[in-house]
Symmetry: C2
Subunit: 137 residues, 2 copies
DNA sequence: CCGTTTCAGCTACATCTGTAGTTGAATAGT
DNA sequence: ACTATTCAACTACAGATGTAGCTGAAACGG
């Protein structure tokens, strides 16, 4: 029941999130490297990426060290955590905080293959099993 | 594989989405009614709500008709649809478009009760069954 | 050595967002 | 009829966002 008592990091904007994800994928990287690792079709100027990385650093999502003359960035918060927060906010906003309706939406609104369904069923079954062992986090 | 070819409505901001959801809940409503229907603890000035409703109207998410001197608003796009778009964007942004990882995240990261798990399993099973009937959309 | 590239660190700037105030007309209360 | 209330329509405005340009120093190619 961890309510919202602790002052959080400011939320990430879309673009910032995009960059953060690329950085997570690379582990460590300079602005240049992040720029080059952008997904096909997504063009951003080097200096734009620089800006986002700075903003990420101000918001304390990444830190940097100087290596030679260039800054090497890396995440300073676990992706897991960032994603969880983002998902929570999203669920709160669109589904009044209820996860199940979102899952329902995701699963029913087309686009989930037979294999994926099977995988999800597995997952759920394993969660159900896990719940029997009163597994207190 | 409906790519992004058709010019879409501009995306909704958080506050706009909030208001849209209230309006959907009411079906039809004036700015005053929406203001009063805000969830407990969420205070917004009447004129703020008015502003959001106008913005929603400009973005073509709602339409209005004059009844007496007051505007009565109602959604002009199916919530279903708006939610789908929002979810799609979100999934694209945080999970590279893959729904399954999001579902995984939602289901595993605590907070889903035994009953809900059962419900979801049902849902998935029914989807699996449904897939056997080559149910072409 | 000297031009070219490439950084970090600033600055810029149009939009969008969150939130509300102002004004003039219509209406309701008395 | 006068006043208080309530709208729609417009204005306001600071802060966030998306995106990039400029500057001076450092390093690199030849």
């Amino acid at each position: 029941m961890e309510s919202k008592l602790l002052a959080k990091r400011p939320v990430l904007s879309k673009s910032e999130m995009e960059i953060a994800r690329v950085l997570w994928g690379l582990g460590e990287a300079t602005a240049r490297e992040v720029t080059e690792a952008l997904p096909k079709g997504r063009k951003l100027d080097f200096s734009t990426v620089q800006t986002y990385l700075s903003r990420l650093e101000n918001k304390s999502y990444v830190k940097s060290k100087l290596v030679g003359r260039a800054k090497v960035y890396r995440g300073s918060v676990k992706p897991q955590q960032v994603v969880r927060e983002a998902v929570d906010d999203f669920v709160k906003l669109l589904f009044g905080g209820e996860k199940v309706p979102l899952v329902r939406h995701l699963v029913s609104e087309a686009g989930v293959s037979k294999e994926e369904l099977a995988e999800l069923r597995e997952l759920i079954e394993s969660m159900e099993r896990e719940q029997d062992n009163v597994d207190i986090d």
